[in-house]
């Protein structure tokens, strides 16, 4: 049996029985990577000796440790002590943080085995993984297509069974959209649910770390481990963490679900629309009540996002100047010139574009017209959800308006790329949790994702709906055959 094709919860049972060992799992993973990753480019840093060493140094089987012996891959914007963490950017080449992200500490504490780092859009700026300085990752369902982004690498390695599960990050859809395009599960927690300490910041008021997994039960398991208050993060909420995996099998009877009409607009791929509507009917059949609702300010979300997120990013990325870490330009005439030249050669085009846009939105004379105005429209978007959630327990939408597009198809015009995020962005602006689960395939065998959004800190509800639907349809069992 190829252990790399199993889920974490299945492997935990086998480990508990003593049928397998962590090294067995690790070896299968190594084989898969050696066979497939040249073609997929999902993994940017992987040292097989180190990985095996980590398995060997695990102490005795410990059932109190939720993830004992299970390997995990980490998106390259999440700090792992003394391991290069580069955000797929040249400007952080060779940077080894002297600390772990809190989420990583929690994984290690529960016995997970850190395997390596996955590819991403540079600094999480993108929806396709094409802005990575390591080159794009490829969609395992069709190697000429993008896997989505920015957590493309994590989604690919999970979908292609190069990994059991992985961590990603989501600022405007960067977990949910690649999960949808690769046919796996991706969850963005409520803002403040998971500590951001050690996540290299893109947009501080929108970022969250979350799980990318093969099924909903694994997502619940991983979410439970990484969630919780952190003293090192002033924006992490001190709220108890439910035992997610024990509640996901509860039924959906009486749950009220809103279907926002603004998400079924022109421009949505007809196959996507059909798959999502079918899924909604299926969920109704399980006892949930689905009704049309309106989130009237949806059309403004992308505009708000590209002002707020880029403004925060321009400030968060100002520290990258080659002085304390990273490569430093040697041709400069003085220290300020060092900054200019280092940032010129270290940042890719999309990073430069966003930094300039963000700086512009904050600059004197434009602050009120752009940044300040965007903060106010954000209030309207948040209020749309608050109003909806007064009557409804969850909201269902497509995750992405289209399935995976071709590599290079949207790189000429940034705006078309930005519009890929149209269905995922609002959840980040409002701070609410969202999950994407597979809900079908197009005629050309490309995955389609269903997005379920919930009230703040009610991950339980969206996991429940996702789990029930998944178990009823079994879409997640289908594996890509583009790379065998």
């Amino acid at each position: 049996m190829e252990l790399n094709t199993l889920t974490a919860h299945e492997l935990i049972k086998l480990l508990a029985k003593g049928d397998i060992s962590p090294i067995d799992i690790c070896n299968n993973i190594i084989e898969a990577i050696e066979k497939k990753d040249k073609g997929l480019n999902a993994i940017v840093r992987f040292d097989k000796k180190k990985a095996l060493q980590r398995c060997r140094s695990l102490k005795e089987q410990d059932e109190s440790k939720a993830l004992w012996g299970i390997p995990i891959f980490i998106k390259d914007n999440i700090c792992v002590r003394d391991e290069a963490t580069t955000c797929s950017s040249r400007i952080l080449e060779g940077f080894r943080p002297p600390y772990n992200a809190t989420a990583v500490n929690r994984l290690v504490k529960e016995g997970a085995v850190l395997m390596g780092k996955t590819n991403m859009d540079e600094f999480a700026f993108g929806s396709s993984t094409e802005t990575s300085c390591y080159g794009t990752s490829r969609n395992p369902w069709d190697l000429d297509r993008i896997p989505g982004g920015s957590s493309g690498g994590s989604a690919v390695c999970v979908a292609a069974d190069e990994a059991v599960f992985a961590l990603g990050s989501d600022t405007g859809g960067s977990i949910r959209q690649p999960a949808s395009l690769c046919g796996v599960v991706g969850l963005k927690p409520t803002y403040g649910r998971v500590s951001r300490y050690g996540l290299i910041a893109f947009a501080s008021s929108l970022d969250q770390i979350g799980p990318i997994t093969k099924d909903v039960e694994d997502a619940a398991l991983l979410l439970g481990v990484i969630s919780g208050h952190d003293d090192m993060d002033s924006t992490s909420l001190d709220m108890p963490v439910p035992d997610y995996k024990t509640v996901i099998a509860q039924d959906l009877k009486g749950l009220k679900i809103g279907i926002p009409k603004e998400y079924f607009i022109e421009g949505i791929d007809p196959e996507v629309k059909k798959a999502v509507l079918d899924a909604i009917h299926r969920i109704e059949g399980m006892g949930a009540i689905c009704e049309d609702v309106s989130l009237p300010h949806t059309e403004f979300a992308v505009g708000v996002y590209y002002l707020l997120a880029t403004a925060e990013a321009s400030s968060n990325l100002a520290r990258f100047d080659g002085i304390q870490y990273g490569p430093r330009s040697s041709q400069a005439k003085g220290v300020i010139d060092t900054y200019r030249k280092t940032r010129k050669s270290g940042f890719g085009d999309e990073a430069k574009r966003r930094i300039i846009l963000g700086t512009f939105a904050l600059s004197s004379g434009y602050y009120d017209a752009y940044y300040s105005m965007a903060l106010k429209v954000r209030t309207l978007i948040k209020k749309d959800f608050e109003a909806c959630f007064r009557k409804y327990d969850a909201i269902i939408t497509p995750t992405s308006p289209t399935p995976a597009f071709r590599i290079g198809e949207r790189t000429e015009d940034p705006l078309t790329m930005y519009l890929s995020d149209i269905f995922t962005i609002s959840a980040n602006l409002a701070g609410i949790p969202g999950i994407s689960v597979p809900c079908g395939f197009t005629k050309s065998n490309l995955p389609i994702g269903l997005q379920i959004l919930g009230r703040p800190f009610e991950e339980v509800t969206i996991l429940k709906i996702a789990y029930n639907y998944e178990q009823d349809t079994q879409w997640h069992r289908k594996k890509p055959d583009a790379i065998s």
């Binding site: 924006t235 400069a332 085009d349």
Partner: protein, 96 residues
């Protein structure tokens, strides 16, 4: 036009990123298109709205004034391209 070449040059300088002429041209066109799209937000009347800069309703998060261990100095300077006696070394600060 929502943004001009001169503005792009000025803003790039504010952000300390050196751009080639070609890049300035290219970016100006792209940014202009993006800002044109963003302009639809002007349709809305935001005069009576409170800005949302923090999405959580949290306040008063503190820590106590207790000393915690600092990083060993070797960890602090190990990533830098240039140092001297555990201090970060940079070129002269030349004012323009």
């Amino acid at each position: 036009m929502r943004i001009t070449k001169d503005t792009v040059k000025y803003v790039a300088d504010l952000a300390r990123i050196e751009l080639a002429e070609k890049e300035i041209d290219h970016f100006t066109g792209q940014l202009d298109r993006i800002l044109e799209y963003v302009h639809k937000l002007k349709k809305l009347d935001t005069s009576n709205l409170e800005p949302t800069s923090h999405v959580l309703d949290m306040k008063n998060v503190y820590r106590e004034d207790e000393v915690k261990a600092s990083l060993p100095v070797s960890d602090v300077v190990k990533n830098t391209a240039s140092k001297q006696d555990n201090l970060f070394k940079v070129k002269k600060i030349i004012e323009a």
